[in-house]
Each structure stands twice: as C-alpha cells, then as structure tokens.
C-alpha cells in the first residue's frame, strides 16, 4: 500500500464528506422549492436571491441553537443516535462510483473510495444500519411518540431489507458480480438492465422509499400522528444530523439506482458523465415529486404491501430469472 494511494483515499473521503454535507443542505432547499411550485406557492423567497441563502440561515440556526438533552433520556445513546444516521449514510458512499474515472496530471483518479468486490451488499448493509439512528433515538428519548416511531422503524427495517435484497438478486444473477463497476461495464456490452429486469427495477425503487424513510413510507416520523417521531426530543444540530443523514441517503440511493439499472455512467465520456448526473437528479427529484403528490400510507398498509405484494413478486422474479438463465 503506497503513500499515493493513502493520500488519494483521504482526499476522496474528505471531498465526498464536504460535497454531500453541502448537498444535503441544498437538498432541503430543492425540496422546499419543488414542493412549493407543485403546490402553487413560492417557497423560500426572502433570504438572498430566490431564497438561495435560506440554507445558510438554517445552518446558522441549527449550529447555534441550544443542544437540549431532556432529563429522563438515556444520555449516551440519545447523543450518539443522530451520529449513527449521518455516519452510516456516508460510510455507504465508500463503495459507490460517483463518476467515470479520469486522469489529472498523468495520475488516474477513480472516483470511488474503495472498489470492494461486494460493493452492493456493503452499501445496503451499511445503509440498513442507518435505521439504527431513528430506532435508538426513539428508544432513548423516554417519549411515547418516539417509542412508537422506534417500533415502526424496526418493522420497516426488517421488512424492506427483504424486498431490497430479493429485488437486487435477479440483476446480480445476470451480471455475476456485486461490484457496481462490474454492473456498469456489463451494461455497456449488453444494454441497460432495466430492459431485462423491469420488475426488479420497480420493486427496488419502491423499497428505496422505505429505506430512506420518504413519503409515502414516512411513517417513522409522521407529523400528523406522532409529532416528529424519533426527532421529537431533539433540537439543534443533533436534529440536523438526522436530516443530513436522510438527505445524504436520498442522494446515494439516487446514484445507486441508475448505476444498477440504467446503464450508470456508461463508457465514461464527458457526455455519459453528464447523463449520469441527469439520471441521478431525476431520481432525487422523483423523491420530492412523490412527497408532493402522495399521502402517507398507514403502517398496516405498508406491511401488507411489503409481505403480500412486493416480496412474492420479488421471489417470482428471481425464480423466473433463474429458469431463463438455465
């Protein structure tokens, strides 16, 4: 292991952390604007041109707000829970190739922190651990809304891991590898996987909403029935960390879906790179679009959808893929 590799890796990690923490901030701005336009409002307008500096205002507010830790909570767990959400979101990014590789001054840069050969498993494992944040925050809060939210996050966690895993299994069988770079290369030769696996694509997309806890599966923190769920007792930057984790997860999942199903960054020319970011942006936008267009489902409907619709479909899909491949 040489020094150049070490330096390159540290630089990549720092860049990913900085870019995606900032993007999480911009994500909140995009969300407000998109929701506002879809609901015929203007959204944030007063701070800066078109409300662009709203992010800075929010950041200052979150950073300087008093960090209240209520008397009856389990303090260490309560304090560490938001960090788990944010940290695991960024850890999952280690195995995602964000761009095609390019050369600067004769040194080839691969925009992936570590191309481990089980990249996909690693990403979903670590993203799954991210649900420990809401779970622990909810259980440590000594608040009834929070504990309901924790119970729901456990239920979502156990159920939708199954759908994600099974829906991804069929593409993995076709490609024969778990590395996202291999997925990309396979699709250059054989065309986009979504053409062979449309069902897996839809199932995975639906499960992505549950994994990131977005509407219509936002029951972990449903404002109208359980206040803010696990976030009820949090304030200041600890609450902000939950937010950063959620938005970072949305961005990472928006990178992963095109990489697996929609050809990724292809052969890695400049146009391909731009197209890749376009696909990513569409999936991120779709998260916001869904939030504007759909109501939340009830917990029992969520479980019904997972175990009686999505999981059987995923299993059938895997079986059919297996038969066709034999």
């Amino acid at each position: 292991m040489d020094v150049a590799y070490l330096i390159a890796t540290v630089v990549k990690i720092v860049i990913i952390l900085l870019v995606f923490s900032a993007l999480a901030g911009f994500g909140t701005y995009f969300e407000r604007k998109v929701l506002a336009f879809m609901q015929r409002r203007l959204g944030p307008m007063y701070v800066g041109p078109y409300g662009l500096l709203q992010i800075a205002a929010d950041g200052i507010k979150l950073f300087t707000k008093e960090d209240i830790i209520p008397a009856n909570v389990v303090k260490p767990i309560f304090k560490i829970a938001p960090v788990i959400t944010a940290a695991t979101a960024f850890m999952a990014a280690a195995a995602i190739p964000f761009m095609p590789s390019f050369t600067i001054g004769g040194y080839e840069v691969k925009p992936i922190v570590s191309d481990i050969n089980v990249g996909l498993l690693y990403i979903f494992g670590v993203m799954g651990v991210g649900l420990y944040g809401p779970l622990l925050g909810g259980m440590a809060s000594a608040n009834k809304w929070s504990i309901i939210s924790a119970a729901r996050s456990a239920a979502v966690f156990i159920s939708y891991e199954v759908v994600t895993g099974l829906s991804i299994l069929a593409p993995v069988m076709m490609v024969g590898s778990l590395s996202l770079i291999d997925f990309n290369n396979w699709q250059i030769e054989n065309g986009w996987i979504v053409m062979y696996q449309p069902l897996a694509f839809i199932l995975f997309w639906i499960a992505a909403f549950a994994e990131t806890g977005r509407t219509p599966f936002h029951l972990v923190a449903n404002d109208h029935e359980i206040i803010d769920g696990f976030g009820t007792e949090y304030s200041g930057m600890r609450w902000g960390l939950f937010f950063i984790g959620e938005y970072a997860n949305m961005f990472f999942i928006s990178f992963v879906i095109p990489l697996i199903f929609l050809g990724g960054f292809g052969e890695g020319t400049f146009v391909d790179g731009l197209l890749f970011f376009g696909k990513m942006a569409f999936f991120f936008f779709f998260f916001l679009w869904t939030r504007a267009a759909w109501p939340d489902v009830r917990p029992d409907q969520l479980m019904w959808l997972c175990w009686k619709v999505l999981m059987p479909l995923a299993v059938i899909n895997v079986v059919i893929t297996g038969i066709v491949m034999m």
């Binding site: 260490p76 767990i77 622990l136 119970a151 456990a154």
Partner: protein
C-alpha cells in the same frame, strides 16, 4: 502496517463493546453495545480480504440484534436500569471462567498443533463471493441443505404460530363488528 493498525483498533473496539454488553445493567446500553460489537467484527473480515463475509456479518447481525431491540421494547422500559437477580457469585464466576477457558482451548487447539492449512486457499483472480459459492455447493453441500431445511421448519412453525386470524384485519372492521368479535371471544 495498515493491517496491524486495523487489527488492534478493531480488537480494542470489539472487546470494549462486548465488555459493555456483558457488564451493564441497562438494556439499551447492552443491546447497542452488542450491535456495535457484532458490526465491528466485520472489520476483521475486511482486513483479511473476506469482503463477502464482512458484508454478510453487517447485514445479518444488524437485523438479528434488531429483533432483540424489539423484544426489549416490548418487555422493559428500556430507559430504566434493570434490577438483576444476583445468584451465587462463586458459581457464576466458576462457570464464566470455565466457559472462557474452553473457548480459548477450542480456538487455540489448531494453532498449538500447527495444523492450520487453508483447505480452500483464495484465488487471486476470482472474487470471494464465487469462491464461497463453489465451496458451499460442493464440499459443504449437505450441511448447507440441512441448514436450509431447518430454516424451512422454523418458517413453517412461525407461520403456524403467528398465522391465527391472519385473514381478519382490525383496521377494515367497523367498531360494532370488533365489539361483536370480542364478545364472541369472551364466550
């Protein structure tokens, strides 16, 4: 050098988390420490180049410990300390020491007899997902299938135990129907 750093770092973290898991009397600490320890163990697998096992360790144990959290949520107020019933200390200590010695003996036996040979040494060009697949479906086919049958049995048992009245959804019934049902149950 990186391997050494990673080994000692993860050793310290894993032992520390399991130590917390064993000694604390607060359910939430114990569960969280257990989850942390289980997930940190994957660090060793990654260091050794067994990426597949590392990722599986994270996925399986984070899900498994989660079931324990669910039990914790149902049975305790997890924000309060659990009052433990302390049985005879001498017996507990003796049993704990014996168990520890036995574990060390079992793990250390191959090292002492210098009999550690990799039965299936890893091949550089093949990813270790494929290697595990090949070994599972050739040499260890029978244990693998037995495990599958056991899981099937557990699943059927789970369905039988939990499946009573599964076709009735309380959310779809009206209040009067629910009351009627409760009355029938009481009779």
């Amino acid at each position: 050098m990186f391997e050494a750093i990673s080994f000692y770092l993860f050793s310290f973290l894993v032992i520390a988390s399991f130590w917390v898991a064993v000694t604390t009397s607060q359910a939430l600490y114990a569960l969280t420490a257990l989850a942390a320890g289980m997930i940190l163990i994957s660090g060793f697998y990654f260091t050794l180049g067994a990426d597949f096992l590392g990722a599986i360790q994270i996925i399986v144990y984070s899900g498994a410990v989660l079931a324990l959290y669910a039990f914790g949520m149902m049975f305790f107020d997890t924000t309060r300390e659990v009052k433990e019933k302390k049985p005879n200390k001498a017996i507990v200590t003796t049993l704990a020491v014996l168990a520890a010695v036995l574990t060390v003996a079992i793990v250390a036996a191959p090292i002492v007899s210098q009999n550690i040979v990799a039965l299936y040494p890893s091949v550089e060009s093949v990813g270790n997902t494929q290697q595990i697949g090949v070994v599972l479906f050739t040499k260890y086919l029978v244990p693998f299938e037995v495990a599958a049958v056991m899981l099937l049995v557990a699943m059927i048992a789970g369905i039988v135990l939990a499946g009573k009245k599964m076709d009735i959804s309380l959310t779809k019934l009206s209040e009067s129907e629910i009351e009627k049902q409760n009355a029938e149950e009481l009779v």
